[in-house]
């Protein structure tokens, strides 16, 4: 689950529908030199590499005039591709934004942001609205196809009528209500004005006289158009299908995004996992709220390579890990165990026992820290399933399996406060049951730990040791 498929959608749509958009006013001559067609595509592409961006910064990055950029952005806003936000702000507001940018977008890109001189100015920000883009593109394709199909099927579409007096519109399907006994025209229901037929759009293009040849030619043209449309837009349609069931990236409002991004940055600061993410992820800002869930899944499904996991997860803490996690986790820590709790976890890992179980305990405590309902629910579901699996394969498995069953039940209290030893046992079995179990999985968990707790390099080493012990 990532933003990439949606970015690809944006890029395809940009090339399909916006590559000949010019931001020039119609009265200005489009001389070759000032012809800026294609700029719309460039801007959309740039937006796929950012989240919320201040429009001046974007202009600077793209070496565009702000006015020119704004004109295009206004157009995109009308096209419902982007959301914009305008606000008056002084230095402070800008700082909040800059910090947020630093936390999300590639710093290389926005390195000079701090230099901006800021007074109380109105600044405009913009951001792609992915879920709406999905709808807009889909609707556009649907309309295009329908229009051509209708033209083909009916030769002509349903005639429309308009009242020149009050502007009310009718179609031929209303004919029965519009006839008048007095004359041979249709009359408006509300003002009795004489309706005029609207010349149909596509079919009136070209020749008006409808002799056979013309009609046939027009039909061929339409068919050709339809075929070409289907062929040329196929990648776009495929991409639509691909992202159909994915949740669209959601950045929220500018404010919410800043708060979140900054919180994540704060949370990620102490985490050395921060660095690899930048190189690994490039500009692709991964959206925050939903990948949080993914992360949990990743931790459990057990990925293959430690390194892989690391990069994947390390990408998440900075961009993906929702701030609410960190914040809430911290609060809870204070309430429940005091501030040192996370560290104590790590110590626990090394000290508590010489077995792999410790990792488990740490993990569960993390859950506690997070107190995230979803995670708990997920754990429970997972444990339940595993228990079922255990039961199913009971004959094949060791007596430990039955232990597992017993322990799982205690395990389920883990979300609440329970003693660590219990958890250890419970999870020990869990651990063994985990499908791809092995060193790597352990590593996986460990990395997850790093993300949630303030893990440092030292901890990693310790955990590695434990891994080995387990193996």
């Amino acid at each position: 689950m990532s933003i990439e498929p949606f970015n690809r959608l944006v890029k395809l749509a940009a090339r399909a529908f916006y590559d000949d958009i010019t931001t020039k006013g119609d009265n200005q001559p489009k001389s070759g030199r000032s012809d800026n067609r294609g700029i719309a595509v460039v801007i959309l592409d740039a937006l796929t590499r950012r989240q919320w961006v201040r429009e001046e910064d974007l202009a600077k990055d793209l070496k565009l005039h702000t006015k020119q950029l704004r004109r295009t952005l206004r157009f995109f806003e009308e096209e419902k591709l982007i959301t914009r936000d305008h606000r008056k702000e002084g230095a402070k507001g800008a700082k909040v934004y800059n910090a947020a940018v630093a936390a999300t977008v590639d710093v290389l890109q926005n390195g000079k942001e701090g230099d901006d001189k800021i007074k109380m100015h109105t600044h405009s920000y913009c951001c792609l609205d992915y879920s709406q883009i999905f709808d807009v593109v889909r609707y556009r394709l649907h309309r295009m196809k329908k229009k051509l199909r209708d033209e083909l099927d009916n030769k002509n579409t349903v005639q429309e009528y308009i009242c020149p007096n009050c502007g009310k519109r009718y179609t031929a399907l209303d004919a029965l209500r519009l006839v008048s006994p007095e004359d041979e025209y249709f009359h408006c229901e509300s003002c009795n004005g004489e309706l005029v037929a609207e010349s149909d759009k596509l079919s009136s293009q070209g020749t008006v006289d409808g002799d056979d040849k013309d009609r046939r030619r027009r039909r061929e043209k339409l068919e050709d158009m339809l075929h070409r449309m289907e062929a040329q837009l196929k990648p776009l349609m495929d991409q639509l299908n691909r992202v159909k069931d994915l949740p669209a990236p959601e950045f929220g409002s500018l404010q919410a995004w800043e708060v979140r991004a900054n919180a994540v940055a704060r949370g990620a600061n102490g985490d050395n996992a921060n660095d690899p993410s930048k190189s690994g992820q490039g500009f692709g800002g991964t959206p925050m709220p939903f990948v949080g869930e993914t992360k949990v899944e990743v931790a459990f499904s057990g990925l293959e390579e430690k390194g892989d996991i690391k990069s994947e997860i390390s990408a998440t803490p900075m961009k993906v890990l929702p701030p609410w996690m960190i914040k809430e986790g911290m609060n809870l820590t204070k309430e429940q165990r005091g501030e040192v709790k996370q560290e104590s976890n790590m110590e626990g890992t090394s000290a508590a026992a010489g077995s792999s179980d410790d990792k488990k305990s740490i993990e569960t405590e993390d859950v506690k820290n997070i107190k995230d309902e979803y995670v708990k629910a997920y754990y429970e579901a997972l444990f339940k399933r595993q228990r079922e699996q255990e039961e199913a394969t009971k004959s094949l498995q060791e007596p430990s399996t039955t232990d597992g069953v017993d322990n799982t039940s205690t395990e389920r209290h883990v979300g609440m406060k329970s003693k660590r030893e219990e958890e250890d046992e419970g999870e020990d079995i869990e651990w063994e049951e985990a499908p791809p179990a092995g060193d790597n999985t352990t590593g996986n968990f460990k990395v997850d730990l790093n993300v949630l707790a303030d893990a440092s390099g030292d901890d990693n080493d310790e955990e590695d040791d434990i891994d080995w012990e387990e193996g």
């Binding site: 889909r138 394709l141 649907h142 196809k145 099927d153 349609m237 639509l240």
Partner: protein, 138 residues
């Protein structure tokens, strides 16, 4: 992207319910309605009072646009058309409109061409000939 399947009789998209239902040619409807009208006549002095406007308009219509009046001929038409793997709807359109050429038949019932039923022009031609024969000997 297939949103709602749009109704289109030319492609035989008339909904499952009607696709499976028995279709009636105008000639057949005429026989049914006239029979019913006679029954009502026997029971009541003023039958036109007993039937709905829909009934009356339909009766007028099918009497006017029935190609075959003789009940035996009507039966034969259906019998002949039934040999050609036609959908009920297609069969009745052909029976109602009695196209004279293959080209006309395809224009009236475009779906007979594109359903992969091996209904080549020769078969359609034969079908139309048979139909016109019935008309001749009615």
């Amino acid at each position: 992207m297939s949103l709602e399947e749009e109704e289109n009789a030319a492609e035989l998209k008339i909904g499952d319910e009607f696709l499976k239902a028995k279709c009636l040619m105008n000639s057949e409807v005429s026989l049914i309605l006239e029979h019913k009208y006679e029954q009502i006549q026997q029971m009541s002095d003023d039958p036109s009072n007993q039937v709905s406007q829909v009934f009356e308009k339909s009766l007028q219509y099918v009497k006017r646009f029935s190609r075959y009046k003789n009940p035996d001929a009507v039966r034969q038409v259906r019998e002949i058309l039934s040999r050609y793997q036609l959908a009920e709807f297609e069969l009745c359109v052909l029976g109602n409109l009695c196209p004279e050429t293959v080209e006309e038949a395809i224009a009236m019932v475009p779906s007979i061409k594109n359903r992969g039923r091996m209904l080549d022009e020769e078969a359609i031609e034969k079908m139309l000939n048979d139909l016109s024969l019935i008309k001749k000997f009615e």
